[in-house]
Structures are given as structure tokens and as C-alpha cells.
Symmetry: C2
DNA sequence: TAAATGAATTAGTCGCGCCTAAAACGTGGA
DNA sequence: TCCACGTTTTAGGCGCGACTAATTCATTTA
């Protein structure tokens, strides 16, 4: 019976681990400056924290000066726990309290650090142990398993190809409201009808029949899986 | 049009203001040591914080060296806002997530500092703008009005007198579970059938017909209003 | 009225997590 | 191969909110 004991971590530490996890997608090392950029801190501050996270035992990150950082198993487990909190909370706010999907990210980004295990369990039960959040992101299990998605950016589709939206980036409320207006939410199917050269807009047709031109800010924020 | 602008306050500051409010009941000054005792800090730490709260503008407390502290209007407004959060959250956890009344205090004591105004409004609406929390404490309105209760301790009842329970102290889960077992929750009516001298137990009869001897730890934690 | 006592304050310290400025590192182009 | 430039780290500092130890204050009692 392995009791998973975990000391209380500060919000700061949890945010670093989550940010490293999110930047690590694909890449095998996360740079100090990328992390600083994402967290909105000076690089020097990040270096200091990375040394601390590395020095802990068990250490939460693997960090080599000038080489970047990766999560250890322990660190990844914690990151996934916070991400589970975040995504469960987002969905709960919509399902139970009538938030719209552009309002939930900010609230979840705070509350994710302060709910108890019991609260987590209860909202998960209320929601029926859901597997994806309102923006299409998979919700890690309590054991720290997370589904991998093979989807690509909408911007990668060629003319004539169709894709079913799997997820959209959730950090910009403005963008989410725009996507709502266009009906571009998970499960919707879009077909690329035209591509203009040199990073010009992509023309799409939605399953509702509407046509639309989308800039790359949008098409880079929407992920799809190919259909047909 | 007076827009109530309020800078972000730390959890520490909010906890001080709430503690001062709660200790101020009746008393006109709160002592450094009483505050230190309640917050679990060294007195020296409390002195330091009081000086800071006093120095702010607008100042949140009136503090005179060696004379104790009271809340200013501004400070009281903030304390009531946090208390509103606390009591709404307690009730919400029970009504929406199936918590029992002995589990909610701890969770609410944390979350009260981190929910948004929007979250507050939504749970208040969900709950139907409730006026009391699960332990019988009044919930301040959004405008900072709080109902005053004229209730007395159960320990003050004389033999033959009956009281309807208005509220119970909510900080000790153990005690709350004991009260649950005895059916001593708000609205229940109890009659004192015997009092033993020298702080001995008080014998009561509940409206369910059961009789019980209660020590002063219990009878000091239960508040009643006289009936008949 | 002066000494004793307990409460409160001051003085100094510490860990956390951020900052800026200066130094050091590592790498791609000449 | 080496130098210039961008990245990263080091050095030093700051506000916050706790701590302990030493001191001062207010009040009570002799
Ligand atoms: Mn966060
Ligand atoms: Mn999301
Ligand atoms: Mn609190
Ligand atoms: Mn309560």
C-alpha cells in the first residue's frame, strides 16, 4: 500500500510545474527564457526557481545550467494533478454555475491551487468522471494518466480537406467569443475551401454551411483531426 | 456614482480583518494577544501587521499602541465581504456537492479568499440569496448589511426554560458530529430539565423526546432564543 | 508612591518569490 | 579558430509575513 505523501506546495511552484509541462509538449528541454516568457517573469527569477525545484528531494525537475529543464516523474505527477484540477473546475463552472467557456480559464487558473482533494473528487463525480474539458483538452485521471491527442492545427489543412475540431486554445476570452460566433467549437466539422499564399487567410466552410475567412491567429489556435 | 474600488488584499490581511471582526462582537477594542491567540501567531507578528493595516490609506483598522484595535468602516466592509464568501461557500458545498456540515468550515476558510465576485454572485443565485449559513450564522448582504442575532448561549438557560437553537459554533468538526448525533442543529428546540451546581452538566430534553446531559463545552457552543 | 508583573512593542532575522544590473556562458558566422 | 551576440546565470536587493529575544509600557499591588 503506497501512500502518496505530498508536502504542500506553493502556488508559485505549482504554476512553474504546470508551465514546464505545457511547454514540454514535443520539445525535450524547456528553456529558461521560454518559461520566463510564459510566466511573465524575468529570466533571472526563473533560474532561481529552477535551482530550487531541482534541489528539492525528491527533485521536481531535472535542470542543467544553460541546457534547460524537464520535469521528473514526481514533477510531472504534480503538474498533471494541477491540470486535472484546472480542467475539472472549468467544466464544473459551465455545467453547474452557468459560466460561458470564455470566462472559465481565469477563475480555474486561481482555484486550481486551492481546492481540496475532496472537492476535486466531488466535482468529478458530479460531472460523471468527464474525459475532456470545455475546450476539448483531455482531463488527466486521478492516477496521472492523460490521453494523447494526435490532432493538428487547422492551419495545417490543405484545400479540400475536412477536419473535426478536437480542441481550441483557451487562454484568450476574446478569441473564444469569436469562435463561438462562428460555431467553431469541439465536434464541429470544417472544410478548407481555399488557401491564400504567404500566410494569407484560410477560407473554410462550416458544417452549418457558413463560409468564413480565418487569419492565422485563429487557425493556429484551433486543432482538428482529419475526417473522410 | 460611487464605484467601490478595492485593491487586491492578501489572504493574510483578509484573515486579520475577519478575526478582528469576530473578536469585536460586544467588546469595543480587540487586544493584540487575543488576536494572536485566535490566529495562532506570535504577538509580535500581530503588532507588526496592525501597524501596517493602520498605516494604509484608507486605513483598515484604528490602532493605538497598547490600547487595542478596531475596524474602520472600510475594514469592516472588507471583513463582511470575506464572511459573506465564507458562509455562502459553506452552504454551497452542502447544497450542491453533498458535504456534511462538519466538513465545510475548513474548505470555506481557504476558498473564501480566492473566489471571484462572479463566483460569489452565481452561488448566491443558485442558493436563492440565502440569509443564514448551515450553522445558523447570518450571511451578510453584498452591500455589507448583516442581521444581528439576539440569541444567548444554551448554558445560560435556567431549569424549565426552552430554547430554539439559532446557531452553533462551526470550527470544531468533532463537536459538530456530536451535535448531529444528538439532533442539536438550528431550529431544534431543547428544554433544560436540570442544572448541576459548580459548572456541572446541564440536562436537556430535545423536541424528539430524548434526554441528554451536556458539558459546558457543548452548551457554550450552542446558541438559542427563548421560546414560550 | 514605588515596585512587580504581565501585556505589548521594538529590534533583528529568516524564507519566499519576485526584481534589476552585471557577469559569464555557449554558439554560429566570419 | 575566434569573436560577437544572444541567452543564461550570478549578485545584490526588496516587500511580505512570519519568527525569537530583548525591551518598554501600563496597571496592579504593597
Ligand atoms: Mn495557476
Ligand atoms: Mn481549458
Ligand atoms: Mn481564511
Ligand atoms: Mn459557518
Amino acid at each position: 500500500m503506497s501512500v502518496t505523501y505530498r508536502k504542500d506546495l506553493s502556488r508559485a511552484v505549482e504554476d512553474y510545474l504546470k508551465a514546464i509541462y505545457e511547454l514540454q509538449r514535443g520539445r525535450q528541454q524547456v528553456s529558461t527564457s521560454a518559461l520566463a516568457e510564459r510566466l511573465g517573469f524575468a529570466s533571472a527569477s526563473v533560474t532561481g526557481m529552477l535551482k530550487k525545484l531541482h534541489a528539492q528531494s525528491p527533485s521536481l525537475v531535472k535542470y542543467q545550467r544553460h541546457r534547460g529543464v524537464t520535469l521528473t516523474q514526481t514533477g510531472e505527477k504534480i503538474a498533471l494533478e494541477i491540470i486535472r484540477h484546472h480542467r475539472l473546475i472549468e467544466l464544473y463552472l459551465i455545467e453547474a454555475l452557468g459560466y460561458s467557456w470564455d470566462e472559465v480559464h481565469e477563475e480555474a487558473d486561481r482555484l486550481e491551487h486551492f481546492i481540496s482533494e475532496s472537492f476535486e473528487d466531488r466535482i468529478a463525480t458530479f460531472l460523471g468522471e468527464p474525459e475532456v474539458d470545455p475546450h476539448g483538452d483531455p482531463i488527466p485521471t486521478k492516477e496521472g494518466y492523460i490521453a494523447v491527442s494526435a490532432s493538428t492545427r487547422l492551419s495545417a489543412l490543405q484545400v479540400g480537406e475536412s477536419g473535426r475540431i478536437t480542441k481550441v486554445l483557451d487562454e484568450d476570452p476574446e478569441l473564444l467569443r469569436y469562435l463561438t460566433k462562428l460555431g467553431l467549437c469541439p465536434q464541429a466539422v470544417v472544410t478548407v475551401t481555399q488557401r491564400d499564399p504567404f500566410g494569407g487567410p484560410i477560407h473554410i466552410q462550416t458544417d452549418a454551411g457558413a463560409t468564413q475567412m480565418l487569419g492565422d491567429r485563429v487557425t493556429d489556435s484551433v486543432y482538428v483531426e482529419l475526417v473522410q
